[in-house]
């Protein structure tokens, strides 16, 4: 082998194998790697480091004693996550790591385990007004059913994916594809979904959804009626009437309460669809991926002829969607027919204002699962006491350090925003089921009281001092620090 190395290759001298390692690769041991020309230790067990600065990036954990001694063993600023911790399932054995540490004079215990969840799925909130498909219709990935359309929320479409029946109740390949889809979504990867009689979407946690090939930019500012209310004053005097096209409620300025209040004159405009209250119309068109979540591309199709009694030639009409992405300006001719004209400069601002008031459209992924059975037994000898302790808010539940919302009622059914967890925190088993990290943090005295595996408790410093399998990442600033002792009913 030549002594002169290619630019992207380093030679590792950590052992006599003396591997040549290319950029981005690891040596024969899989423990040392070439990160941008630097020899670094790369290992999987993730420790959460309480970040002092905002948005700190992931850093490799250097493990040679001289380099990390004293930098990490600061107890309260390091939290051992369950990512990569493994699981003792299907045993009733104590969880893989039960770690004690002292925080502000209080002895805290964190029980760290990875749970295998068959009862799990994700709730997807896709910020779009475009209709993605009828409620209850199947959502598919790679042609296999992986979930269904549930409902719409304000500015968003809701899908429910996974769940125990999809994972284990259907065909083998349905379960497999469902498991893969959930895994990818939870790990932040993009997934392509098709909805029966509906749209094709590409979604990834924390990213803008792509609906039928078109990337969503913004959520609607409000329904059509709300938009009229918000912007009526800004339109006064600059235009005679405004129609805000929306699949839910289309608003008409001259008829709307807000217009009346400002003394806007009747214009004789007539809208197709079902009138709800003055200036508010349901079902002006069919749901779709056009203007304001309707199926129209030409807004004039929702208008009936203007009423001669009220309308006048040169009447100025603005039609705009609830996101401001689509707009058109018309003036009536002598026969009271709308003729499209350039949008006047003084109206451009209001359209831009609508757009600017729309928040970025995102896909959000909440992982939802129920922890029962042996996972609880890994925490305590009397599993129901753990449930009670969680319910009484004495035990804090986190997933890879991210806070989990515990659903009230029986059991430990929780939801967590996957974007608040470290990268690639999820795994799977071929059952199929997802593997997700869970940490239970509580005061040592409370842990003893609920029958915890006190004899398996190890001080944080000992876990940190173990040679292998650790990676340190910074905590996200928006997450509460998991080790902070909880007050009841926080």
């Amino acid at each position: 082998m030549a002594d002169v190395l290619p630019a992207d290759t380093i030679r590792c001298d950590a052992c006599p194998v003396l591997c040549y390692i290319k950029r981005g690769q690891t040596g024969a041991c899989d423990r040392y790697g070439n990160a941008d020309g630097q020899l670094v230790r790369v290992d999987p067990h993730i420790l959460l480091d309480r970040a002092k600065s905002q948005g700190a990036p992931l850093v490799p954990f250097l493990e040679r004693e001289s380099e990390w001694d004293g930098t990490l063993v600061k107890g309260k600023d390091t939290f051992v996550t369950a990512i990569g911790a493994g699981t003792t399932y299907p045993d009733y054995k104590p969880a893989p790591f039960i770690v004690s540490s002292e925080v502000d004079g209080v002895d805290m215990v964190t029980v760290v385990t990875e749970g295998i969840f068959s009862y799990c799925g994700v709730k997807l909130k896709i910020d779009t007004d475009r209709n993605l498909g009828p409620e209850r219709n199947l959502v598919r990935a790679q042609g296999e059913p992986v979930g269904h359309v549930t409902t719409a929320e304000y500015g968003s479409q809701m899908l429910s994916l996974g769940g125990v029946h999809r994972l284990t109740g259907g065909t083998k390949s349905e379960g497999r594809v469902t498991c893969e889809t959930l895994l990818d979504l939870c790990n932040g990867k993009e997934v392509e979904l098709t909805i029966d009689e509906g749209a094709r979407v590409r979604v990834a946690a924390g990213k803008a959804p792509v609906v039928n090939g078109q990337q969503e930019e913004r959520m609607r500012v409000g329904c059509g009626s709300a938009t009229i209310g918000m912007f009526a004053k800004q339109w006064l005097g600059k235009v005679d009437d405004v129609v805000v096209v929306d699949d839910h409620i289309t608003g008409v300025l001259s008829e709307h309460q807000a217009g009346k209040f400002l003394g806007v004159r009747q214009t004789g405009i007539a809208i197709k669809g079902r009138r709800s209250t003055p200036g508010r119309y349901f079902q002006v068109a069919n749901p779709g991926t056009g203007w304001g979540g309707t199926d129209i591309s030409d807004p004039l199709t929702i208008l009936k002829p203007f009423k001669e009694k009220f309308a006048w030639p040169k009447l100025r009409l603005l039609m705009v969607s609830t996101t401001g992405e689509q707009f058109a300006y018309f003036e009536l001719d002598e026969l009271l027919r709308p003729v499209q004209e350039e949008l006047p400069a003084e109206l451009q601002e209001s359209v831009a204002r609508i757009r600017e008031n729309c928040e970025p459209a995102l896909t959000t992924v909440l992982f939802m699962a129920g922890a029962g059975g042996s996972l609880r037994a890994g925490v305590t000898e009397n599993p129901v006491k753990l449930t009670h302790s969680v319910k009484a808010s004495l035990t804090r539940v986190t997933c890879g350090g991210a806070p989990a919302y515990i659903w009230p009622g029986g059991g430990i059914t929780f939801m967590v925003d996957v974007t608040r967890m470290p990268e690639n925190a999820f795994g799977y088993v071929p059952t199929p089921a997802l593997v997700a990290p869970m940490e239970f943090t509580l005061k040592k005295e409370d842990y003893a009281a609920l029958g915890g595996h006190m004899d398996h408790m190890r001080p944080l410093s000992e876990v940190l001092a173990e040679k292998e399998r650790k990676r340190q990442v910074h905590s996200l600033p928006e997450n509460p620090w998991p080790l902070q002792p909880r007050r009841a009913k926080e």
Partner: protein, 297 residues
């Protein structure tokens, strides 16, 4: 900057962890406390020179094995050469195909030579050498993907079986594979034999030229790989059931041939959650986990 070898007891105080460079062994012996200590001491003493011995003749270990290959000096290297020799006629192979199993075997041999043990194993990253006294047995779990905590089956090895080596190979593992198997687990007389056979069978679980399989020359990833510019598997897309079956069949054919030649006792081939078993007993050695057994969190 050579990291020293690590010899330590794991926190459970039963198992010993031996680590040096790319070698990572978990060792456990059963017997009286005296015999276990003696075995561990001997294992540790032997272990600390193994990597240096191997690296001393690394170029030869990485070279293709031919009938007239130069003799190797080290005890571990000799085990490697012996294990790959039966394959030298028909395919490209280097002694490195047996390195993990051979190291495990050497340490186990040292331990059983130093003390009377009821049971012992040396697990070298999934390539395992076993010792069993009469009446003793081991229960072994099989993992489909090393990156996920998942068992696709289990196998029980008892004293009466001609099995003292278990090895697993697949493209997801630490070593390169020319095939697409997630994992091929082989039971054989020795760990080095199992290691070699697992490599050979995993290479044969394959769909040549399939568009959803991404392959690159080994040296593009690891410039000093013994595989040279041979194409190694980097990613396998979701395959149709018929393709999974075809790839497994191709591997199973090779496994059957090795079985007939007495080179393996049994093999379990795993690809995209399908498992195929080759053995004289219709796979009675292997217990596949039922769908239901892992059902609740």
């Amino acid at each position: 900057m050579r990291d020293p070898a690590i010899v330590r007891m794991l926190p459970d105080e039963r198992r010993m962890h031996l680590h040096d460079g790319p070698i990572d062994l978990i060792v456990e012996a059963n017997g009286t406390s005296d015999t276990v200590s003696a075995a561990y001491e001997a294992a540790a003493k032997r272990f600390v020179t193994v990597l240096d011995e191997l690296c001393g003749e690394l170029p030869l270990l990485r070279a293709q094995t031919r009938r007239d290959s130069q003799m190797l000096r080290g005890a571990v290297a000799k085990r490697m050469a012996a294990a790959v020799a039966p394959y030298a006629e028909e395919c490209f192979i280097t002694p490195m195909a047996a390195v993990a199993g051979a190291v495990a075997e050497e340490i186990l041999y040292t331990m059983t030579g130093a003390a009377q043990l009821t049971r012992a194993y040396v697990n070298n990253g999934g390539d395992i050498a076993l010792h069993l006294a009469p009446q003793e047995r081991y229960q072994v779990g099989m993992v489909g993907r090393p990156d996920r905590p998942s068992l696709f089956g289990a196998v029980e090895i008892s004293y009466g079986m001609p099995v003292r080596g278990i090895a697993t190979s697949g493209w997801r593992g630490r070593s390169f594979s020319l095939g697409i198997a997630d994992a091929v687990t082989v039971l054989a007389e020795t760990a080095a034999m199992a290691d070699t056979a697992a490599t050979i069978i995993a290479n044969a679980v394959n769909l040549p030229e399939h568009p959803r399989i991404s392959r690159v020359p080994a040296t593009e990833i690891a410039p000093d790989s013994d595989l040279g510019s041979r194409l190694v598997t980097r990613a396998v897309g979701v395959l149709r059931d018929s393709e999974v079956a075809a790839a497994l069949e191709s591997g199973a054919n090779v496994a059957r041939e090795l079985h007939e030649r007495g080179l393996i006792v049994a093999a379990a081939l795993n690809l995209q959650r399908e498992t195929r078993v080759v053995s004289a007993t219709d796979g009675r050695e292997f217990t596949e986990f039922s769908q239901r057994s892992l059902l609740h969190a």
